[in-house]
Amino acid sequence: MAKSKKSSLGRRRFLKGAAAGAAAFVANPQGGQAQHGQEHDHDHDHQAVPSDLTLRVKALESLLVEKGLVDRAALDSIVDTYEHKVGPHIGARIVARAWVDAEYKRRLLTDADRAITELGLGGQEGQSMRVVENTPKVHNVVVCTLCSCYPWSLLGLPPVWYKSTAYRARAVIDPRAVLREFGLEVADDVQVRVWDSTAELRYLVLPERPPGTERLSESELAALVTRDSMIGTRKVNSLGSPGEPRRKS
């Protein structure tokens, strides 16, 4: 951890010196204290952002509002939509329906676009969909090696790890080691299928229904389904996942 913090600082100093290219469009990036909206201790790229980025974004927003290029209330609504309305609870509804309705599951796997809109769900970055099914012999995992494509309207915005170079680089070459970092050991008799989402198709993994959930209702099942299980980096267990943000469904 200490070593990693040091190298992060080193990178930031390097950035301070790199007054070229895109950054030169406005002021040069200047180092400073991290801006953080949350109290947590970790070591991510986003932690070491120059403090003046806060000011620069504010200045850009004011300029764009003043010119009539954006409506401030629309910006507030977009932030609110992705912070509070859209999230993994939407994908979870699709998964739970597929678990309780075999005919729905068949439609979901063969014509996801139609099956998802049939539930009144979807939207931008979630209209051209492919749903891939985990079975006792197949484990699917989704990545976007070239950027960070993700079904925003069904899972919300992706976590930092999904967008990180580490995940994007390794998921295709060593998926089993990546899954191990999520605590998931995939047995030798199981095929790992990695889906590199390079086009305008977005992917949702249909995880396996955990044992011991036979008596749960559809909405109780939906509450067990986690974001990571729909990306394919974890399984669903009958206890849910305490490590993921919960949203009201």
Partner: protein
């Protein structure tokens, strides 16, 4: 372009940091950058492929040191200037140019939810050039290194796979990114054996599926 964004198969990128109870945005500015980007998209001065391409052409050393939304911020500045929605001077001073007219934003607050989250069944387009391949056919990803935008990842080039399915017709990013036309083509899910891509170190049972445009492929 064989650029910094094309990272599939790279090694030594460090551990994957998994954050428990991660917030959607880690700071207010991140949410504002996201929202500005989506709201500005409504001017239709650029498309998603152009956004990706603009981001890929950020200076490589900076690309790796920037956080995700920092990349978005710098990409947005480039697009605002290139599309002439803003001038460099306006960004530097933070003031509209003298005499510039006040415009009407194309996206209003009351339209946000419907625009971004309303379910609409569109169906897949089948228009455009006819498909050259069908499911089950063996194909080779072309060994090409275009200097511009492409969605053919480096790690797949030259390798043989199998068409798993035809996913319909989509605009070709390679030309759409620079407004040279949509050139709609069929996109296929192509299955590659992990060993075909990575050799002996990969498990023989594992596979990688990649979405590929028709012109990225040759018969094998």
């Amino acid at each position: 372009m064989n650029g910094v964004h094309d990272v599939g198969g790279m090694q030594d990128m460090g551990p994957i940091h998994i954050e428990a109870n991660e917030p959607v945005f880690h700071a207010r500015w991140e949410g504002r950058v996201y929202a500005l980007n989506r709201a500005l998209g409504a001017w239709r001065k650029w498309n998603l492929d152009n956004s990706r391409w603009t981001q890929e052409t950020l200076p490589p050393a900076e690309y790796f040191t920037m956080s995700y939304y920092e990349r978005w911020y710098h990409r947005m500045l480039k697009q605002l200037i290139e599309s002439k929605l803003l001038t460099r001077a306006e960004i530097e001073t933070g003031k509209p140019a003298k005499g510039s007219a006040k415009l009407t934003p194309p996206l209003r607050a009351e339209e946000v939810i419907a625009t971004f989250t309303k379910a609409r069944f569109q169906g897949r387009s089948r228009a455009g050039t006819p498909p050259r391949f069908t499911a089950g056919q063996r194909v080779r990803a072309r060994n090409i290194h275009p200097p511009g935008h492409t969605r053919l990842p480096r790690y797949a080039r030259g390798h043989v796979g199998t068409i798993e399915s035809d996913q319909g017709v989509f605009a070709l990013p390679d030309t759409n990114a620079t407004f040279q036309g949509e050139n709609p083509q069929h996109v296929y899910s192509v299955r590659f054996e992990a060993r075909e891509l990575w050799g002996e170190q990969a498990r023989p049972q594992d596979v990688v599926y990649i979405d590929m445009w028709d012109s990225y492929l040759d018969p094998a």
